[in-house]
Symmetry: C2
Subunit: 238 residues, 2 copies
């Protein structure tokens, strides 16, 4: 193994390092961070951890995408978030002393880093700034979740779907001649689970948005052509 490939697996070389919670660690602490870390390979559709499982530690995505979802008693699923490189996984269950509150499943073949509970907590205790950043992130996620409660209560499925497409565009959109290609594949069912609706309704909305020229469908890809038009759907009245 070349020294170069070794370096690439270090957190400091992660593309999202500077935006993450470890960005202000000293050299020495970074060495410790690497020491506690292990890197795991997950194939598409593979489960990273399952709702109800005991919490072993905390994950951070190096490459790939991971969907976070909860399951109801009768098997229906609600996708809560699509995690991307740099996202922490399982951090909200690390402190509550409860089993995982949701499931994490790889959407792509992914490389995901792992710290066990003791290792991560020791880093946290030695580095107040990391703890502070983690609190900031938990707070932001909490606010986002409550925002979603509000939206789901008062917005139509059409509005929620438009908003979801715009979110995907911001997170995974790559500018191409046709418009923004969403560099993520979700089945109609998954799209429905993300906005709290049904497959059939999503299909109808896609064909409606397509007919209106807001989006385009090509093979398995969705292109967002008119983000501004979609944005107006977000507002009241639709």
């Amino acid at each position: 193994m070349s020294p170069c490939s070794q370096k690439k697996s270090e957190c400091r070389h992660c593309p999202s390092f500077s935006a993450g919670i470890f960005s202000e660690l000293s050299e020495d602490e970074l060495v410790l961070l690497e020491g506690h870390k292990s890197i795991h390979e997950f194939k598409r559709k593979q489960i990273v951890f399952l709702e109800g499982d005991d919490v072993q530690g905390i994950f951070c995505i190096q490459s790939g995408k991971v969907k976070i979802y909860k399951t109801t008693g009768d098997g229906k699923q609600q996708i809560l978030n699509i995690a991307q490189p740099g996202s922490l996984l399982g951090h909200s269950s690390l402190f509550t002393q409860c089993p995982h509150a949701f499931t994490a499943e790889a959407l792509d073949d992914s490389q995901i880093c792992f710290w066990n509970q003791e290792g991560f907590l020791s880093i946290l205790q030695r580095n107040p700034p990391v703890a502070l950043k983690l609190m900031t992130q938990l707070s932001a996620e909490l606010n986002r979740a409550e925002e979603k409660v509000l939206e789901n209560a008062y917005q139509s499925v059409r509005q929620r779907f438009a908003k979801f497409l715009l979110m995907l565009k911001d997170k995974f959109g790559v500018s191409e001649s046709q418009g923004y290609r969403l560099d993520i594949y979700l089945s109609r069912q998954e799209l429905a689970q993300a906005i709290g609706s049904t497959e059939e309704t999503v299909v109808r909305l896609i064909s409606e948005f397509h007919k209106d020229g807001f989006i385009n469908i090509d093979k398995k890809n969705i292109f967002v052509i008119e983000p501004d038009k979609l944005l107006t759907y977000t507002k009241t009245g639709y």
Copy 2:
């Protein structure tokens, strides 16, 4: 002022002290905690802080109840939580560097403690266990919020209302001969805003539950008579 009344305002004498985030502070630290604290009186319907306001610090309820809600662009409100003595307020906005993400309004005449940002953060930095407990609480709230997203997506208004009544019973129910009296007054409108529905639908559900003998209405009070029956409504199929 008698020494006794002075003591009563100290955190260590708060009924919820042992369950709160400050429970493991040393004597010295508790003195510092008191030093940074101020106590404020809020009348019913008075705003503690407003969505969009700059964050000045953090609150903790000593007595009374406070509703936490968000407002949509067109003025509709969604009640996210009913905070009770011992609850922190504004802790999720303390770290995000953003304005308050929601409004806090007193439901009763309430006594609410306050620490400004620097004061609270200095306590946090000197006491890692407090930080850890705060993280635990943020995590728990995050999980609860995502749970709510799931529920709102797949449960009927009837199920959500039954669940909400049971939550009120657990939090504010006092056992009386008639059943559990909910020691909290919420208008039909507020009940609707809590479950993401409308006044009229809530009225119909109340009369339905009343007719079925699950609850009783007397003056402004709601009594939960058959919590178990309400619980079955929570399950799938209603």
